[in-house]
């Protein structure tokens, strides 16, 4: 399983905590342009088909990646030229405790991926649910024992028994 924290075009979102209105425009514009350039470079390495076709396999990705670069630049230019303060509905600010909690929950999910190989689905899932409930702030036997058991039972009944998914 690949590290879920690094995805294409998904830099750590915590950095976006309370961005200024201009940053909120420039960061995605730059990300779009950079991603477009990267995709274009990769598209150039796509092997040409051995067979003659009207368009090569590279054509469509190349067009799109250039369009992405162009749109990113245009977006950046527009937001630089436009007067400040026109920004509407900024997202709720993130909190430090929220960021920590998100990271630890993702770590728990990654740990689950590993655990699943070694332990029965019913055990590993109950542990994960308990861990997530704990990280979310749940305490006591209801949150840490009863709740995970119920969730796991529902999942197992639906997927394992009813749909015969090999869990």
């Amino acid at each position: 399983m690949s590290d879920p924290r690094t995805g294409p075009g998904a830099p750590p979102a915590e950095e976006a905590a309370r961005p200024g209105s201009r940053t909120r425009e420039l960061v995605p514009a730059a990300a779009g342009a950079v991603l477009g350039l990267g995709a274009f470079a990769l598209a150039l390495q796509i092997p040409e088909g051995a067979r003659l076709t009207q368009f090569s396999p590279r054509w469509w990705p190349e067009v799109l990646s250039l369009a992405l670069v162009g749109l990113g630049l245009a977006h950046g230019a527009v937001s630089l030229l436009r007067p400040r303060g026109a920004e509407e509905e900024a997202p709720e600010p993130s909190t430090r405790s929220g960021a920590l909690r998100l990271l630890s929950m993702l770590a728990a999910v990654a740990g689950y991926g590993v655990l699943w190989y070694f332990v029965d689905f019913r055990v590993s899932t109950a542990i994960l649910v308990a861990a997530l409930a704990f990280l979310g702030g749940g305490r006591g036997w209801k949150a840490l024992i009863a709740f995970p058991v119920v969730v796991t039972a529902v999942l197992y009944l639906l997927f394992g028994v009813l749909l015969r998914v090999p869990l």
Partner: protein, 323 residues
């Protein structure tokens, strides 16, 4: 349902497979005389619901009876079937993991995927899907010869739809072109049904698809099947001649069989073959397969292995120059 011991064993086997890779083939030091003593997993490299899945599930239900253990069908689709095939090759060769092997087993290796038929012990072949070529109902081409002539007169102008780039039906189109010394223009679609639809809707001149996909449209009068690429005429299309009878000697099509990761102990393999043969012979299996328009067969392991080898060599020629 599945027991905890099975789950733990499976997990342990998965770990073994992960750490040791496929290196310890045949190194399963288990007493094989009481095989099968637990559930067996049958890997199908396609989504649930397709023709291959149906064939595998029907066969599995019949094999369960003679083996006396449950066979759990596991669909692992993706990568044109390579994901499931690779998954099967990496499992323990103890007979508790078997899989459905489609014709792609011998093709994918030449198309940039990590799939090699030598990674599997073959149990038997159970289904055959001869390729057919069909034209729209009011097409001017009455016979295969007409179509080939048209392609010779104006090379690369006769468009022939198929289910996808790299599919067996695209390969069949090329094989036809190579044998008849004519140049067709294959047009890959996204699946067999859209390819057939394109021919019914007269967007293309012809379609190459499996007999189960073209025969219903032929009976409905939406398409005219010109030839079946098999060695003998099909029961589903008794009025259609084979390509060979029309002077173009091409026998090609899809097929499906059962295999296991290479290195399964001899006694276990014998039991699997026995159960396979009984299942492939069963009334239930034969009816469901022929009702779905395909041809049920029962090819024993040895013969199947020879066939797979010859197919592998054939596709090396047909696909090898694709790069």
């Amino acid at each position: 349902m599945r027991s905890t011991t099975f789950r733990l064993t499976a997990a342990a086997l998965a770990v073994t497979a992960l750490t040791a890779g496929c290196a310890d083939r045949g190194g399963v030091s288990e007493d094989t005389t009481d095989y099968p003593s637990q559930d067996i997993t049958l890997v199908v490299p396609y989504d649930a619901g397709g023709a291959s899945d149906l064939a595998a599930r029907t066969l599995a239900a019949e094999m369960e009876e003679s083996l006396g253990q449950s066979i759990i069908v596991e669909n692992r689709s993706g990568g044109a079937g390579s994901v499931g095939l690779q998954d099967l090759a990496g499992r323990a060769a103890d007979g508790y993991s078997i899989g459905y092997l489609p014709v792609e087993t011998v093709m994918l290796g030449y198309q940039g995927y990590d799939v090699d038929p030598a990674d599997y012990d073959l149990v038997g072949q159970m289904v055959s899907v001869p390729a057919t070529i069909a034209v729209p109902a009011d097409s001017p081409h009455e016979t295969l010869d007409d179509l080939v002539k048209a392609a010779k007169e104006d090379p690369d102008s006769v468009t022939v739809s198929n289910s996808g780039a790299g599919s067996i039906w695209e390969a069949a189109t090329r094989e036809l072109g190579a044998t008849a010394d004519a140049e067709f223009r294959p047009v890959p679609f996204d699946g067999g049904a859209p390819a057939v639809t394109a021919a019914v809707g007269e967007q293309v001149d012809a379609v190459v698809a499996g007999i189960s996909e073209t025969a219903p449209a032929h009976e409905e009068g939406q398409l005219r099947v010109l030839a079946v690429f098999d060695s003998e005429p099909s029961e589903a299309l008794p009025d259609v001649e084979t390509a060979g009878e029309q002077g173009v000697d091409v026998v090609i099509g899809g097929w499906g069989g059962i295999g296991a990761p290479a290195g399964v102990p001899e006694e276990v393999l014998d039991k699997l073959e026995e159960a396979f043969s009984a299942a492939a012979e069963s009334e239930e299996f034969r009816t469901i397969i022929s009702d779905s328009g395909n041809i049920p067969v029962n090819v024993p392991a040895g013969e199947f292995a020879e066939f797979v080898e010859s197919e592998h060599a054939r596709f090396e020629q047909l696909l090898g120059d694709e790069g």
